[in-house]
Point group: C2
Chain length 381, copies 2
């Protein structure tokens, strides 16, 4: 089986596995306990926080360890009343934000003028995904940060004391893009361990010093009072090791994966008449491409490809599961037929050239048959 | 080092470790993806849910997998407006409940008459910890359930449509007490994997069919819409294996551990004049005892015992960390001096008779010295 769905989940890398190992059984202590082995465990946990902060160019006390991106997003967005976001965000962001969404263009890049217009004097938080996990488009975060900076200056002049912050969900960006929070100009950043070769059910929220959040869960007061519950030492240590490794390999992996992606993408375009790449922006992740073939039934195709030996997706795993049409593809202007005829291919650290060659063969065999079936079904209706 | 703080954290047992293993790397798939290996992973995850439900005598769809007891408690209690709880609950419960608390007696058992009196027509949820992690006292849950049942009948007659439910935090009870939700008469039950030899950062909330909750985190709609976020397959599988194992070993372990606990407790009483057992109730967990020695500085004693080779606690790890005096010991009537002079010993699956003998020697050597120092300090003030 060839795995081409790295955007849905990544295996835990060896470094992370080895780092986690001692904390399952030998060093299982509650880091809040008072004796020496527990205090040593606390030190390891704080060191993991430090290592995560380092990748972001942040301070250790600006990192909250959470149970994953969804919780990080809820913690960030749930702390503010007026949240503005874009049309193509993850469902967790959309669930926590207002209904007046910033438009995106045909490649999925946010419309910066629309962002400017939609920020009003009450907007407390703007949340823009760094890179989209369905189509791979990378957003102009720095430009968004500048708009927010200008709004802050305006508010200061008008004596409007409402703060305005920028949050980004960088789950899909880790290991591919620069995560330095100062260079990006973000105040809050969500990260997801399970998407960058760390353990699942671990994430982080970067919270710039001075930004005040409201906890979602109350209790023992762990994580500076923002996230109560016994600390997940093994998880944090695994995440920190995975993130550091992803950052270390970033430049070489971006180059390697982009070549494989471009090769496969060219094959698709060349092989299937009527195939179109959704979001062929130059601003996109190297490992993802999403394409539509008119007349294809994407959901059927995923099953046929699975049967033939390739694992891929129609869109995000959550959306796929609910059977809903992708709001991302709709937002970038695809017709229902185009959206329903789309597939997402996402490559990762263990994708090889021979795998891509094999995948090409499988696609060449499988998709024409699928198209034929879809067309026959179409005639029957 | 002898570990006598099983109430703070337990190591992951071998069965749980082995069960988790494949889901870190080989079977790391997102269970919401559509291809066969992912659907197999989904089946394993649902099977873990089934196994957890089985221990509780519940249905599979009544179990929500969470990131631990604190989240389970917040999800349960956060869904209701008028929550009544007791004086000796975990900080997560107290943080989510009202301020009018049900009294406990000198052994920490809730006053059932006071519970009856404090339930008013608006009370939506009563939350009573099954067993207390600081003093080990086991609550009369069935009797509490009967009181709530009677209140339901009264409301029905008066056409009061406000529902009233019983939640119990059974984190400390798993592996020691019967968890059957029907026999206990509870509507909601919190469980914590990290306290019963499963991985940390995993928990469950039993939600009786028909009880409606409000999600804390919104997003992809996992866990029947009550808890969004990519499912923690490894964690759930580990928890299920640990809980099943704890249930299987329950009767033999209760007997074995009680003998060791009683032996150590008798030694403490016999050895140290003025030692008193806090909550010497017959209704208590077999593995925990909490004692006070007048004039002892509990916090100092924990460090001295740590230095001498025994890991134990003054109270809960959270409270210990914050330096606050235990609200549990205060509630059962201890003076400040008695509360400050208390230690909690908690035994578990890997506690052995030779360890207890060794611990006795260490206590015999260490505590008199500590008492001497404390007394000298007392004279100096």
């Amino acid at each position: 089986m060839i795995y081409l769905d790295y955007a849905a989940a990544t295996p835990i890398c060896k470094k992370a596995r080895l780092a986690m190992e001692p904390f399952f059984t030998d060093r299982f202590y509650n880091p809040s306990a008072a004796y020496t082995p527990a205090r040593e465990t606390r030190a390891v946990f704080e060191n993991a926080r430090h290592d995560i902060a380092k990748v972001l160019g942040a301070n250790q006390n600006e990192i909250i360890i959470t149970a994953g991106a969804t919780e990080s997003i809820n913690l960030a967005l749930g702390s503010f009343s007026n949240v503005l976001t874009s049309q193509i965000e993850h469902s967790a962001v959309l669930a926590c934000a207002g209904k007046n969404l910033v438009k995106v263009d045909a490649r999925g890049r946010i419309d910066l003028d629309d962002l400017k217009n939609k920020i009003d004097e009450k907007t407390e938080l703007v949340s823009i995904g760094y890179a989209n996990s369905e189509i791979g488009v990378v957003q102009p975060l720095k430009e968004a940060a500048e708009i927010i900076c200008a709004e802050r200056a305006r508010r200061s002049k008008r004596d409007n004391k409402t703060p305005i912050y920028l949050h980004t969900d960088a789950s899909a960006a880790a290991g591919f893009l620069d995560l330095n929070v100062a260079r990006l100009g973000v105040d809050l950043m969500t990260l997801n361990s399970g998407k960058c070769y760390g353990p699942k059910q671990v994430g982080a929220l970067y919270v710039r010093a001075g930004v005040e959040l409201r906890p979602l869960v109350h209790g023992g007061g762990q994580e500076m009072g923002l996230r109560s519950g016994t600390e997940n030492v093994a998880g944090a240590v695994g995440f920190a090791a995975a993130l550091a490794q992803a950052e270390k390999k970033r430049k070489s992996e971006v180059g390697r994966i982009k070549i494989l992606r471009d090769d496969f993408e060219s094959f698709i375009i060349g092989e299937f008449a009527g195939a179109r790449i959704n979001s062929a922006s130059k601003h996109r992740l190297p490992g993802i491409f999403n394409f539509s073939i008119e007349g294809l039934d994407g959901e059927r195709a995923v099953f046929a490809l699975d049967f033939a030996g390739v694992m891929c997706a129609t869109g995000s795993a959550c959306a796929a599961n609910s059977g809903a049409r992708s709001h991302v593809l709709t937002a970038i202007g695809l017709t229902d037929a185009e959206a329903d005829g789309s597939l997402r291919i996402s490559l990762g650290r263990f994708t090889t050239q021979p795998e891509i060659e094999q995948a090409k063969k499988i696609f060449k065999k499988t998709l024409p048959k699928e198209l034929e079936i879809s067309q026959k079904q179409g005639q029957m209706w």
